[in-house]
C-alpha cells in the first residue's frame, strides 16, 4: 500500500514537456562516476545574499515531517538523504547523495543495499554514520510526537516486532535496517517487492538524524545540517537565515551547489506585496525570489514583455487543481454528479488568472505520464472543448437524487487566488440550485484540518496534488485508495471514498511491478472514479509563472519536486 501525494505548497515541480526523471542506472564503477562536485552552473559566481520572500513559513523542516513540495526542495540546503534529485540544464536525474551508488536490489526487490560515501560530515564536524541514517528512519516511526511527513518507511520496511519509534521504545531496534560491520553500506529489508524503492529513499524518512541532536518535536525549529548551509536563526513565521556550512564537502555531493554566502527568508507578506515587490525589482527584491508566490495579478504586466524576459520563468507543472467531493457527507451519487456538472471550468481558470495559469483538464494525471493519462468526458462533454458549466444537466441530476443535499460547504485555503476560485465554484453551484457556504482555512493547517473525520467535515474540497515521482502511483493511490484512511483521519483520501468495486481494482495493482502496467491500471481507476463514483472534479493543470530579481541567476524549475527552485541560484555581481 503506498501513500502518495505531495500537498501543494508553492510553485510546483516543473516538468518541461516530456517529463520523466532519469533514474541513473547502477553501474560497477559507481564510486568515481557519482563523485561530486556538481557541475558548475553557467555564469554562476560565489557570494552575496539570496533573499526569499514567502507568504507563509514552512509547515515542517524536520525530514520526518516534511511533505510539501517547496519545503522538500528547499530543505535540501541542509538535509542530505541516500539519493537526491538534481536538475541541471533542464535535465533531472536521481543520483546518489549520501549513498555511493544507486543501490542494488535483490530477492525480487524486497532487499535493497546501498554503499555509503565515507567521510561525509555533520555541521559540527562529526561524521555522518550508517547508524545516523538508520536512526533517522527509526525516528520516523514516532507518529505520536512527529506528526506529518511521508509514511514510506512504515509502509515498506519489514517490521515484525511492531516497532513504534525511539521515544516509546528507547532501547528497541528496527532489525529490517542493517549496517555493515565497517559502516560502509546499509541494507533495507522490505515487506513487499518495491521496484521503485530508489525514488522512495529520496524522502525525509530516509534522511540521517544524529541521535544526540534529536530534539523531538522541536527539531523543526533547528534541524542539524548535513548540507551546504546551516541554520543561523529561525523565528517561526517571521524569518529564517542560512549561512555556509564549512563542513560540507562538495566533492562528496554531486547534487548540490552553494553559490550564495547567505540565504535569508522572510515570511508573512501578502501575495500582492511579494508580486509587486519582485516585479518592481527594487531594494532587497533585486536579489530575491519566492518559493510560494507566483504571478497572478501582475501576470499581464510581465508575460511577453521584453523587459522582464530574463527574470520570468514559466513552465508546465505536474500539479493538478481539482475538487474533491466528500462521499461521507454527500452520499447520493446523483448529487455528486450534479456538482460535477455545475462547475464552470472557465470561471475557475479565470479566477486563477486565466490561460497563462492553467488549461482545462479532465484528469489529475499529467499528460506526460502517457500510460496513465487518458482523455475522457466529464458530465458528458469534453472539458477542453466545452468548459462552460452544464447547469441544465446538473439540475437534472439533482432532481434524480434520493438524498437531496443542497447545502454545501466549500473548503479552501487563505492563499493567493484560492478565494476567487472558491467563489467561482460557489457561484456556479448556486446557479445549479445549491446553497453554498464558503469556508476559509489558514494555509499552515489546511490539509490536517480537512482530513479530520467525524466533525466539521466540508462537502467540497478545493485541492491540488503533484506526484511524488513520475508515475501514476504517485497520485491515484494516495488520493483515491480507501485503505489509506483511518476512522478519524482521511489522510490524503479527502473524498473519503472506499467503494468495493474500485478497491478490488486497487488491490490488483499491488503486485504489479511493471510501471507501464500499473500506470495503465491506475489510469483506469481514476477514470472510473470520476465518471462512475463522481467524487473528483479535475479542473486544470497548473502552469507556473515565477519572477525573480534581476541580480539572481540560476533559478530553475526543479524536476524532482516541481517547484521554482533556489538550489542552483546565485547572485550576479
Amino acid at each position: 500500500m503506498m501513500k502518495l501525494g505531495r500537498k501543494t505548497g508553492s510553485v510546483i515541480a516543473a516538468f518541461a514537456l516530456c517529463a520523466g526523471v532519469v533514474v541513473a542506472v547502477p553501474s560497477a564503477s559507481a564510486a568515481t562516476e557519482f563523485a561530486g562536485p556538481a557541475p558548475a552552473v553557467k555564469g554562476a559566481t560565489k557570494g552575496g545574499t539570496l533573499n526569499i520572500f514567502d507568504q507563509s513559513d514552512f509547515e515542517h523542516l524536520d525530514p520526518a515531517r516534511n511533505y510539501v513540495g517547496g519545503a522538500l526542495d528547499f530543505y535540501r540546503f541542509f538535509t542530505r538523504a541516500l539519493l537526491n534529485y538534481r536538475t541541471y540544464e533542464g535535465k533531472t536525474e536521481l543520483l546518489p547523495d549520501l549513498a555511493a551508488d544507486m543501490g542494488t536490489a535483490s530477492e525480487n526487490a524486497t532487499v535493497w543495499t546501498f554503499k555509503l560515501r565515507p567521510n561525509v560530515k555533520w555541521e559540527d564536524g562529526s561524521t555522518i554514520t550508517c547508524a545516523d541514517i538508520k536512526y533517522g528512519t527509526m525516528r520516523s516511526y514516532a507518529d505520536d510526537v512527529l506528526k506529518g511527513g511521508t509514511t514510506y518507511a512504515k509502509d515498506f520496511l519489514d517490521n515484525p516486532g511492531n516497532y513504534k519509534g525511539p521515544y516509546i521504545q528507547p532501547s528497541a531496534d528496527l532489525p529490517s535496517i542493517t549496517c555493515s560491520p565497517k559502516g560502509d553500506s546499509i541494507t533495507y529489508k522490505l515487506s513487499q517487492p518495491v521496484p521503485y524503492f530508489q525514488s522512495i529513499v529520496a524522502y525525509g524518512s530516509f534522511a540521517p538524524i544524529k541521535k544526540s541532536k534529536d530534539t523531538g518535536a522541536n527539531y523543526d525549529n533547528k534541524p542539524f545540517s548535513s548540507g551546504p548551509y546551516k541554520i543561523q536563526t529561525y523565528n517561526r513565521g517571521k524569518d529564517l537565515t542560512l549561512i555556509r556550512n564549512a563542513q560540507w564537502d562538495p566533492k562528496t555531493d554531486p547534487t548540490r551547489w552553494n553559490y550564495p554566502d547567505k540565504i535569508v527568508l522572510k515570511f508573512g507578506a501578502d501575495q500582492a506585496v511579494i508580486e509587486n515587490g519582485l516585479i518592481s525589482d527594487s531594494g532587497l527584491y533585486k536579489t530575491a525570489m519566492s518559493l510560494d508566490t507566483e504571478l497572478v495579478a501582475g501576470l499581464s504586466k510581465v508575460v511577453g514583455v521584453a523587459k522582464y524576459k530574463n527574470r520570468f520563468l514559466q513552465y508546465q507543472s505536474p500539479y493538478s487543481r481539482h475538487y474533491l467531493i466528500n462521499m461521507d457527507t454527500v452520499t447520493d451519487v446523483n448529487v455528486r454528479k450534479a456538482i460535477q456538472c455545475a462547475i464552470d471550468y472557465n470561471t475557475v481558470i479565470l479566477a486563477a488568472g486565466g490561460s497563462n495559469v492553467g488549461s482545462p483538464s479532465n484528469s489529475m494525471i499529467p499528460s506526460s505520464l502517457s500510460n496513465a493519462y487518458r482523455k475522457f468526458d466529464i458530465c458528458g462533454r469534453d472539458v477542453t472543448k466545452k468548459p462552460e458549466a452544464q447547469t441544465a444537466a446538473a439540475k437534472d441530476f439533482l432532481s434524480k437524487a434520493t438524498v437531496k443535499k443542497t447545502d454545501l460547504t466549500v473548503a479552501f485555503r487563505d492563499k493567493g487566488t484560492e478565494k476567487a476560485r472558491a467563489s467561482a465554484v460557489g457561484a456556479a453551484l448556486e446557479a445549479a440550485g445549491f446553497k453554498v457556504t464558503l469556508k476559509e482555512y489558514p494555509v499552515a493547517s489546511y490539509y490536517t484540518a480537512i482530513a479530520v473525520r467525524g466533525a466539521d467535515e466540508p462537502d467540497v474540497i478545493q485541492g491540488s496534488w503533484g506526484y511524488d515521482w513520475a508515475a501514476a502511483t504517485g497520485i491515484v493511490l494516495a488520493l483515491l485508495d480507501g485503505r489509506t484512511m483511518t476512522k478519524t483521519d482521511a489522510k490524503s483520501n479527502y473524498s473519503r471514498q472506499n467503494d468495493s468495486a474500485i478497491q478490488k481494482l486497487f488491490e490488483a495493482t499491488d503486485s504489479m511491478t511493471d510501471v507501464k502496467k500499473s500506470d495503465k491500471a491506475l489510469g483506469d481507476i481514476e477514470q472510473k472514479t470520476i465518471q462512475d463514483l463522481a467524487t473528483v472534479v479535475p479542473v486544470y493543470m497548473q502552469i507556473a509563472n515565477s519572477i525573480f530579481g534581476s541580480k539572481v541567476g540560476g533559478v530553475q524549475a526543479d524536476g524532482g519536486y516541481g517547484t521554482t527552485s533556489p538550489a542552483a541560484a546565485y547572485i550576479k555581481k
Binding site: A272, L295, A297, L299, V303, G353, S355, K419, L438
Partner: protein, 322 residues
Amino acid sequence: MSTQVIAEEASRVEGRSPSRMAWERLTKDRTAKVSATVVLIFICLSVFAPLFAWLTKDTPNAFHPETLDSAMGALPIGKLGGVSGDHWFGVEPQTGRDLFLRFVYGARTSLSIALAATFVATVIGVVIGLVSGFFGGKIDQFLSRLMEIVLAFPSILFALAITPVLEDVLIGRGLQAGNGTRIPVIIMVLATFGWPYIARIVRGQVISLREREFVDAARALGASKFHLIFKQILPNLWAPILVTIALNIPTMITAEAALTFLGAGVMAPLSDWGAMLLSSVAFYEVDPMYTAIPGFALFFLVLAFNLLGDSVRDALDPKSSR
C-alpha cells in the same frame, strides 16, 4: 403708528425657537446642502440596489467570464477596467462580476451595518450618559469607570480578535455559520466600542444641564425625577446627540470597512466596500479603477458626513469659533 399697524408688524416678527433658528442657519449653509445631498445619494444607491439589479438584469455575484481577457491574467477587457454600457463601473478582475452592482450592494452592506451599529451605540451611550450625569455619585463613578475600561481596549485589535470567539459561541448555541451570524456579531462589536464616546458627551451635557435654572425650577415645583429626565433634560440633548450621530457614522463606516479589510468582516461572496478594497489591492497597478471606486466612494461619503456634522454643530451653536 396706529395700534393696528403695530399689531400687524408684531405678528410678522414671529418668535423663532432655537431649533427653527438652527434649521434656518443649516439650510443657508451651502456646504451642508452639498454634503447632505451626497449622503442622500449614497443612501438612495444602497436602498435601490435591487432596483439596479433588476434594471441591468444582472446580480452582484454572477460571474461574467466573457468580459475577462484570459491570456492577460484574467483582467477586464477594455479601458478603465472594463467600463461599458453593460457594466457602468467595469468588472472585477478574475471573476467578471459587475462592479457597479457590487458597489451599490456593497454600499448597502457597509451602510446598513454602520447605521445599525451607530444606532445601537447611540441608544446605549445616551442611556448610560443620562443615568451617569443625572444621578451622579456612586452610580456616576461606576459608569465612568466602566467607560474608561472600555476605552482602554485597543478597539480594532480586540474587535478582530473577538469576532471569531463570539461567532464560535453563537454557533455553539445552534446558529448557522455564515453572514447571518457574522453580521450581528459585527454590529455588536462595533457598538460596544462606540458607545463610550457618545456616553461621555451626553454625560457632560447632562451635568451642565442639571444645574441650570429651569431644571432647578422644575425640581422646586416638585417634579419627579422621571419628569425631569424626560421633559426637561432629554429635549435639550437632541442637539449634541445629533452632532455625535453625524460624526460617529463615518467612524463606524470606516471601522466596518477596516474590519472586513482585515478579514473579520462580512464573508464572501457578500459584497462590501471593505472587501472590495481588500481584493483590489492585488490589482491596483494594472486595474486602478477597481481600487479607486470603493476608495473614493468611502472618501466622499466620510467627507460628506464630516462636513455635515460640522455644519450641524455650527448651526446649533454658532458661538463655536470658525
